[in-house]
């Protein structure tokens, strides 16, 4: 499966990465180089193999009581905001 320029543009859009037009062809070539190497996974017989979804066997996801454990931290939450006002994040206009 080779990645064409149209796919690169589509994936960049999905990933919210502005890709200058002159970078599209080189990026396609780079990704194809990597994906071609990855294709060797097709040699592996994975018939009937359960996908591994956790690095630790047998550990059930722990549950905690559904109670509030923190809060009232708006100053700390906003401490690194590029723009903040009156206890809120200031972001570009979302709805026209």
């Amino acid at each position: 499966m080779s990645i064409d320029e149209k796919t690169v543009r589509k994936v960049a859009k999905l990933a919210r990465l502005a890709l200058p037009e002159e970078r599209v062809a080189p990026m396609a070539a780079e990704l194809n180089g990597i994906m071609a190497w990855i294709e060797q996974l097709n040699e592996v017989d994975v018939e009937g193999v359960e996908p591994m979804t956790s690095a630790v066997e047998g550990l059930a996801l722990p549950m905690r009581d559904d109670v509030v454990t923190d809060g009232g931290d708006s100053q700390r939450v906003l401490a690194n905001a590029p723009k903040a006002e009156d206890g809120f994040f200031v972001v570009p206009k979302v709805v026209e």
Partner: protein
């Protein structure tokens, strides 16, 4: 007085306990050494001299009051992937701008709880994505080691290149690091230091900037196996704030270093003999096997037959998880924002400007393999291959107590030598990445120098939760190897 910076962690703690010197004195010695070396090595991206002196003073008071912790007064470096309260943390990426966390990562908090002093934040590949430290937004780290008398600049490896270089150059007693595909062990091998990635879940990931959550694991880089055991003891432990943190009690890692390996069975996997591997690494491996035998272990050939598929599987799983983890960097809540023509434009410009080339490449691969129509062909298949790799290890560990391999397929290479070819760079992690996929503990230790005078490392892989065997075998090999070489301090 001896140069305090050349002490091991165990020696330094002993010296402070015996009142030969204070934490303030050794901390100042390190700050002085950093000032001289850092313009040449670029190991630290932030030096927290004031904080270090304040922590050292506090530490000396605690020791005087008889309240010394296990790492009391020990000056350490912290990889820039760990959030440190009030100290700039950027994962060496421009996208985090001047981000100053308002909280402390569990691992660094554990170290401070035990008395450690922080000297500063250590350079690394951007978001831990790289094997040479060349993707850092703050420029590459230079390996203190050189080829003979040449002045060619070599990579310290990556992604924990700053951690490894600072330990090798005596710019801290030990350092925190993280390992997603080999980022502790490969730099340790390239710099003649010891690095261990524990079992997945031993160290809390809370407050560590996420790269690939099912693979990321913190661990120390240190001067000796024993030092690494002492650091891991403090760093590890259950943390309810990380749902993958293991609830298991921690064994005494330092005691395990004293354990005899007599009667242990050590596996040697045929598949780790790769094309183009230098004869010197093959010889070192054979030497390691002989040392283990001399110490009373039985050697058993084993087969880990899916080894060659580990890296390609990793380059599906890790970018997929990274693309998802890095979706949070949108320039709205923290980090550097670039304003575009509309909201989506702002996201796109912020991310294009903030992420470096390798990070962008991995985000695109991850997004691609997770996108509609490709999920089964790539991500699901990679997870099945991952299961095959883990099964190989389970089968092997039914017969052996630990596995011995080379740590890397080469010694440190020159900066720029591999940066043009992503796949060539990825192959650096060929021996280390399997332990990440299977979630196993693995340690790299220096065992010899090659004909150019550069360190070469061996790797010991253990069963899940059996760091003790890893430490026992590693300590036995360290003793047999008697590796004493140090990088010449050409920057002084």
């Amino acid at each position: 007085m001896t140069d305090l910076t050349t002490l091991t962690l165990a020696q330094a703690l002993d010296g402070m306990e015996k009142k030969q010197f204070s934490s303030a004195e050794i901390t100042n010695a390190f700050l002085g050494a950093i000032e001289k070396a850092n313009p040449h090595l670029n190991a630290y991206v932030v030096v927290t001299a004031e904080k270090a002196r304040a922590q050292a003073a506090q530490s000396d008071k605690r020791r005087a009051a008889g309240q010394a912790g296990p790492l009391e007064g020990a000056p350490l470096g912290i990889k820039d992937l760990f959030c440190t309260e009030g100290v700039r943390t950027t994962a060496c990426s421009n996208i985090l701008g001047e981000f100053k966390p308002t909280y402390e990562s569990t691992v660094s908090a554990n170290l401070f709880r035990d008395g450690a002093v922080m000297l500063g934040k250590l350079n690394m590949d951007e978001f831990a994505m790289g094997s040479s430290n060349e993707t850092s937004a703050f420029g590459n780290v230079v390996n203190p080691w050189r080829r003979g008398n040449e002045d060619t600049k070599l990579t310290p490896g990556g992604s924990s290149g700053g951690s490894a270089a600072s330990v090798a150059a005596d710019l801290c007693l030990g350092a925190t690091a993280t390992d997603t595909g080999g980022s502790i062990r490969q730099p340790a091998a390239f710099t003649g230091t010891v690095g261990i990635k524990p079992t997945y879940g031993r160290c809390s990931r809370w407050g560590i900037v996420a790269f690939a959550s099912s693979l990321d694991q913190a661990g120390p880089i240190a001067k000796t196996v024993e030092d690494s055991a002492m650091l891991l003891q403090s760093m590890a432990g259950h943390d309810p704030r990380d749902s993958t943190s293991l609830p298991n009690a921690l064994p005494d890692f330092r005691a395990a270093c004293q354990r005899s390996i007599k009667g242990m069975t050590i596996g040697v996997p045929e598949e780790y003999r790769v094309d183009g591997m230098p004869q010197e690494i093959e010889d070192l491996w054979r030497q390691g096997i002989a040392w283990a035998k001399d110490a009373g272990a039985t050697i058993k050939p084993i087969s880990l037959k899916h080894t060659k598929y580990a890296l390609p599987a990793y380059y599906i799983v890790a970018p997929a998880e990274a693309s998802s983890n890095l979706a949070r960097y949108d320039g709205m809540r923290y980090g550097a924002r670039v304003t575009g023509k509309d909201l989506v434009g702002s996201y796109e410009q912020t991310r294009a400007k903030g992420f470096g080339a390798e990070v962008q490449r991995r985000i695109l691969i991850g997004t691609y393999v997770l996108s509609a129509g490709y999920y089964d062909a790539y991500y699901l298949r990679a997870q099945k291959v991952r299961q095959r790799i883990a099964q190989d290890f389970r089968d092997a560990f039914a017969e052996v107590d630990a596995i011995l391999t080379p740590a890397t397929p080469s010694s440190a290479f020159g900066l720029g030598e591999k940066s043009g070819d992503p796949v060539a760079m990825y192959l650096n992690d060929i021996f280390t990445v399997t332990a990440n996929l299977a979630g196993l503990p693995a340690l790299a230790l220096p065992a010899a120098t090659d004909s150019q005078g550069l360190p070469l490392g061996l790797q010991v892989i253990g069963k899940a939760l059996d760091e003790e065997s890893v430490f026992a075998v590693s300590a036995a090999l360290e003793k047999a190897a008697g590796f004493k070489a140090k990088a010449a301090k050409w920057w002084v």
